[in-house]
């Protein structure tokens, strides 16, 4: 059991996360009664099935384009950076990632928040906190269900399959074929490459890009964030003035 830097979160196994995503998908499919599973409509799942509101914004913390999305548990609100809205894959993955926090972390977070101070959690490029890795894994499992990806992969002609040590280019070409064959029209090639690697459908490759950021907070406003940003701006101004006075 490892501990996240933000709150005590179990180190959920990949199988557990896959199961959690599949369970949500199964419940959603029963609820919507007749929709096609793929492409998985993360927006509809979030808004209509889980009854979250989605807010697309460039305010506060989201003035930073690196901060892609966040979830406010006690307001049932998912916030998405407006810079993402025109990127089909990134938009859906960000929503699916926040759904992952809802499914995996909401109850744990709300139980523990009593002892927490207001704070923002941003993912840095490089090492991701455990909760963020889990939400990413969940998002991939939700948008690219194992069975559907495996079925599409099986239909890729053998000549298109990469060698034992595939290049990035070969992986991307393969991912594109799986996206087209499987009808995964709302996921990016990068996400599909990662999924193929995660599912061990391709081997000898390590491929992970993107530095999305995320946050969890407990206060109903962004005042801490705003104040912090103001402090940083004042600090930058101070540095600039000091430099000029030298």
């Amino acid at each position: 059991m490892s501990v996240s830097p933000y709150f005590n979160c179990p180190d959920f196994s990949d199988d557990y996360i896959e199961l959690a995503a599949n369970t949500l998908l199964r419940d959603y499919m029963a609820w919507c009664d007749g929709d096609d599973l793929v492409p998985v409509r993360a927006e509809v799942i979030a808004e209509q099935f889980l009854e979250y509101t989605i807010e697309i914004t460039n305010e506060g913390i989201f003035s930073d384009p690196e901060c892609l999305g966040g979830i406010v548990f006690n307001e049932n609100c998912i916030k998405i950076n407006s810079t993402v809205e025109n990127h089909e894959g990134r938009y859906n993955f960000t929503i699916a990632h926040e759904i992952g926090h809802h499914v995996l972390h909401r109850d744990i977070y709300l139980e523990q928040r009593v002892n927490e101070n207001n704070r923002i959690i941003c993912r840095e490029a490089g090492d991701k906190p455990l909760v963020e890795q889990q939400a990413d894994r969940f998002a991939a499992a939700l948008l690219m269900p194992k069975e559907e990806v495996s079925a599409a992969f099986a239909l890729v002609d053998e000549g298109s399959l990469p060698t034992s040590t595939p290049t990035t280019k070969a992986l991307r070409a393969l991912a594109n074929k799986v996206v087209v064959i499987g009808g995964f029209s709302n996921v990016s090639n990068t996400a599909m490459v990662n999924r193929l690697v995660d599912l061990r459908l391709v081997s000898g490759a390590k491929y992970q890009t993107g530095t999305p950021q995320d946050f969890l907070r407990k206060s109903p406003s962004f005042s801490w964030v705003t104040n912090n940003q103001l402090s940083r701006a004042v600090y930058k101004l101070f540095c600039w003035v000091s430099e000029k006075l030298k």
């Binding site: 927006e43 808004e47 989605i54 807010e55 460039n58 809205e85």
Partner: protein
């Protein structure tokens, strides 16, 4: 008449149609963030945008215009094309009961039909 505000009504109509924010934005030629801001009450729409939203969401145009504190551009045209008679008529009709308004509407519909036949 709905007791919801404009933003909530749009959100409710969008949910009924199972449309995403981006899907609705594309349908009415504005960004998803603009739709999001409208639903959150952070901004209010132009009458032209309300007209588009009503058409795409199958909403009641007059109700949406009322909730958005806007007047149908077509109504504005009628007033501007009849700068004396329309204001005068509205002033004299201000105390009519709902039933009288309905009777008046029927009369106007009848006149419209007669005009169409003559054409």
């Amino acid at each position: 008449m709905s007791e919801l505000g404009f933003g909530e009504t749009v959100a409710s109509l969008r949910a009924n149609k199972q449309m995403g924010l981006r899907e609705l934005g594309r349908a009415v030629d504005i960004s998803a963030m603009h739709i999001s801001n409208l639903e959150k009450g952070k901004s209010m729409p132009s009458p032209e945008l309300v007209t588009k939203l009503a058409a795409v969401l199958d909403g009641n145009l007059d109700e949406l215009l009322h909730l958005a504190d806007q007047i149908d551009p077509a109504v504005v045209d009628v007033i501007q094309n009849n700068p004396q008679s329309v204001p005068s008529f509205l002033r004299s009709a201000k105390d009519l009961t709902p039933e009288q308004w309905e009777a008046l509407q029927r009369q106007v519909d009848k006149m419209n039909k007669q005009t169409t036949k003559k054409k």
